[in-house]
Subunit: 585 residues, 2 copies
């Protein structure tokens, strides 16, 4: 028994159990203190390692990977500020409920808080953002210690995955020597200790009782005018079918956020309404569409006007949350229902009357939605390079099975407005836990490692913020097309009240950087192109789809022009709805 | 009294007091929730604002600015993950004792923890790394509230500066409307409320008593063989003179870390020894130089071999710390003395015997040091592009008054070995709180905004990590010369035991990125040049000094060759010392 064998068997058992409990991918950032874990991870036959240098981007890459695979992904870094660079992605993972197993190496106890180099206090480094924090024991090959380290590994994966999913943090104090001995026998199972993960990790689901289901279905039968609002929710064919079936039976429209994955796919879409952000701005529509009941699934939708519609409506509001949390910034909920969303639909559906006669109510939504989409589409016909049109163009151009990742601020809002229902299988993604402009490039690159065709639409400030993330494209040979919407600064601020205060506006909010991004793309050996017009956009996108590697297509727009075009559309939508309403009578 | 006037006067009083209490610089990252604070800061006549988009780089810029000015610097960002990007710099500031006033905007209470967009839990976001955290009251123009907000502002600055200096965090919940009204009268002082900062903020200093001074001086008089070790410490001419006077009177050598600022400057340097990292590797030198007492000032020095020398020596060890903390990773301290370092010297000096006869002890150090420096210098004579020689060349080339900022890992170690005592005024800087490779570019750029000639020596991984920081050079029109030592990966790992394990080494530790950094420099409109030989290096450095803006000079080296050259030098130093020792007898 030597320090090296203790280290080898202890870390070996940990890594082995981590893999057996379901972690197949780890993103490692280089460092010295983390040496034994990194080497054992690289040595494990069933673990894929990705090495990325900037921990901030590395963590957002891991987040993206967990998002598209639905599995827990591990992160490993060394001691010191390295670990603090994970913080943005950890907070995003916490709010977007993404399972991460964050592993940090640390100095041993005697080198803490005494001014030793690269030693920082890593105990509960991420505060309440880690669902579970463990200060690990020192390495030992004692059988009890190996059982312990296996249990922690399996429990870490299980805890990260359990509802609501999120990040867990394991901190490993490690003393020298730091190099494991790979020539030892049975490095993965020293004592044939019990392997926990062979027991299936059964993650329970919340559900409602029979009597609650009866109460709720009665409530819904009594309230004929209802809407279903669906925000970001897990990507599951069965769940989609259930929500659609519920809406059809109730004859409620589904106001479907793009991240609900309800706008694209093979499910029925007759009751899906997507133009709400535009038409709920008009007073007339609001009057017309006052509901008696709102059922909400998933996170709060992107649309501010849909949020206001929910907030201003004094009616029954049922929030169904399979993660057992309280997501209601409108503070209008009348029922918080902790139930798996599919189980909820399954429980309610058989209890509803066979046909719910209220076609008028649903049709009103469908008509207004059609009008809205027509106005928006007409407007796009001959606009110059306009941010909204990028989305509608992509909807046409994207291959039948693909992934569209969008940045925060403007792209996600344009996606909301201009991405209509269709029968392709386009997965729509964004980092909407905390809506940061940070880390988006890295998360999208991770998505591209799983989806054959991935397009990221991102603004220039967000692209700049995570340019370091582009290194993954080069080192991991990823294929992605990035549509860089360059309005030279913070486009969204033009829509906010501070844009009316001219003084200080450009310095504090407009913040033009005038960066020639072609250089950034060249640094990572990517293809860069600037688009002149829509014909050009089509051709360059087609070319990018058939070109391997990193492709960046820049679309230059003007912030002021962009804001005016948006506003003009919304006014026209409002006017058209009013006109068509008059025609009705 | 309107919501807007409450907002304006409240934030006005805060910003006004912040400035009056000594904050003249704020680094702002754009955002929506922080709008009122940003606008009021931009409006204040005595506050300089710098707008930087990536909060991680922004915070390291603020850290660098506080480091070179000695003043508290403010940071402002919006709600959400923006604030988490500050974490690396906040941890560095905590350990390197740099005063920062971190201001984050937050959503009002009703939008917290309910799934509202861009709302994260910001309460104690930085854990124990904020010396002081305040959840601010909502805006109000009530006189009591304005007194309150002023008090918090003044106290925040005072707390950040008080020993040990560090970061404080103020979190402002803000509801809409977010735009202040600059046309209101007396926006800075609504009620002529008491301005706290007109009372001088007297930061007390720790000192020892008369009787303790007698005890300590007696102890030192009885122990003739002593050394003074000085790590990073505040840059103060008087302090330097006091430490040198103490050493001269005791006839102790000063083992002076580069960041002690004792190697360069106008003070006397006869007893300063800088070759210790090289000569303390040899067993012979260690035997010869066993002390009876060690006095330590400042943080732990960079040199691992100096640390081992301290750790292995069983003798009296006095640690003098003006910040009242416990900095002793060697765990060998016999006396922890909480006293301002200059006051300590002043108290002891008059109590020591007039002449301390022990020239032999001191001379032994001085001779070995001279031998070491000669061997190192000879070695540099005809080496090819070698990382260590960059430092010695810079020492010659740098203007008489300048700033040399170095990155962590290799550059700081080469600085330690190859930067010898001289009479120029070269300020030596590094981020050694947590020794991260992150944020170095930004901190050095901040130094360049104060020092006329600033050179940053940095490795390729560290440069890559904070490439986003280069935007400051462009937006703020800074002049800097960056010597980019490109060994294509993590050079320091070649010196560590894992380099002996060939398997996985390049993938996990070497991590070559093969980035053509010229593109990164072009992105920010800088000058980029690659150096062929030393003649070329000289010419290009001279040219860079006379060229405004961002200048990057790349020196390509080979990791393996670099390691071998270092090792050969250390062996020769050891051999020469042994030889010269034999000659003596």
């Amino acid at each position: 028994m030597t320090a090296t064998s203790e280290l080898t068997y202890y870390i070996g058992a940990f890594v082995d159990e981590l893999v057996k409990s379901g972690v197949n991918e780890v993103v490692i950032s280089p460092g010295s203190r983390s040496t034994p874990i990194a080497i054992m991870m690289a040595e494990h036959p069933n673990l894929n390692i990705k090495v990325l240098i900037d921990e901030r981007s590395a963590a957002f890459y891991a987040l993206g990977l967990a998002k598209v695979t639905g599995k827990a992904v591990a992160l490993l870094c060394t001691s010191g500020t390295a670990a603090t660079n994970y913080y943005p992605a950890i907070v995003e993972a916490y709010y977007s409920r993404i399972p991460l197993v964050v592993i940090t190496a640390d100095r041993p106890h005697e080198l803490r808080d005494v001014g030793a180099p690269q030693a920082i206090d890593q105990i509960k480094l991420y505060g309440d953002y880690a669902k579970w924090f463990v200060e690990m024991s020192l390495p030992s090959e004692d059988k009890g210690k190996l059982q312990y380290v296996r249990t922690v590994a399996a429990r870490a994966t299980g805890t990260a995955l359990a509802a609501p999913s999120g990040p867990v943090h394991l901190n490993f104090p490690l003393a020298e020597p730091l190099v494991p001995d790979l020539s030892l026998e049975n490095i993965w199972t020293r004592h044939h200790e019990k392997v926990l993960s062979i027991m299936e990790n059964n993650l329970g689901k919340l559900t409602i009782t029979e009597s609650e289901a009866i109460k709720i279905s009665t409530l819904l039968s009594e309230n004929k005018k209802g809407v279903i609002v669906c925000g970001e929710i897990k990507d599951d064919e069965h769940l989609r079918a259930q929500i659609v079936a519920l809406a059809e039976k109730l004859q409620y429209p589904i106001l479907a956020d793009p991240l609900s994955q309800l706008r694209s796919g093979v499910h029925r879409k007759q009751v899906i309404v997507e133009g709400y952000d535009a038409f709920l701005r008009g007073e007339h529509a609001l009057q017309e569409l006052k509901p008696e009941v709102i059922i909400r699934f998933g996170s709060m939708p992107v649309s501010k006007f849909l949020s206001l519609y929910i907030k201003k409506t004094d009616c029954l509001q049922l929030i169904v949350d399979g993660d057992g949390t309280w997501r209601d910034p409108t503070l209008q909920a009348t029922h918080i229902i902790h139930s798996d969303e599919a189980l909820f639909c399954e429980a309610i559906l058989p209890k509803l009357p066979v046909v719910n006669e209220q076609a008028d109510w649903l049709n009103k939504f469908l008509l207004i939605n059609e009008t809205t989409k027509k106005v928006l589409t007409n407007h796009l016909d001959d606009v110059p390079l306009f941010e909204g049109k990028v989305i509608s163009q992509l909807q046409q151009i994207l291959p039948a099975s693909s992934c569209l990742f969008v940045g925060n601020s403007m792209p996600i809002r344009d996606l909301d407005t201009f991405f209509f229902t269709n029968n392709k299988r386009i997965k729509l993604l964004a980092n909407r836990g905390a809506n940061g402009i940070d880390g988006v490039v890295s998360s999208a690159l991770a998505a591209s490692s799983v989806h054959e065709h991935t397009v990221l639409v991102i603004g220039d400030l967000s692209f700049y913020h995570d340019m370091n993330g582009l290194l993954a494209a080069k080192l991991l040979n990823l294929n992605i097309t990035i549509v860089l919407i360059n309005n030279n600064g913070g486009g969204i601020f033009s829509f906010l009240p501070q844009s009316k205060v001219e003084k200080h506006f450009e310095a504090l909010f407009g913040t033009p950087t005038d960066l020639p991004f072609g250089h950034a793309v060249a640094l990572y050996n990517g293809q860069y192109d600037k688009v002149e017009n829509w014909q050009d956009f089509h051709e360059k996108m087609e070319h990018a789809f058939s070109t391997k590697g990193l492709n960046v297509i820049e679309v230059s727009t003007n912030r002021l022009e962009n804001e005016q075009l948006h506003r003009k559309m919304w006014e026209n939508v409002s006017r058209e709805i009013q006109l068509s309403r008059k025609k009705e009578f």
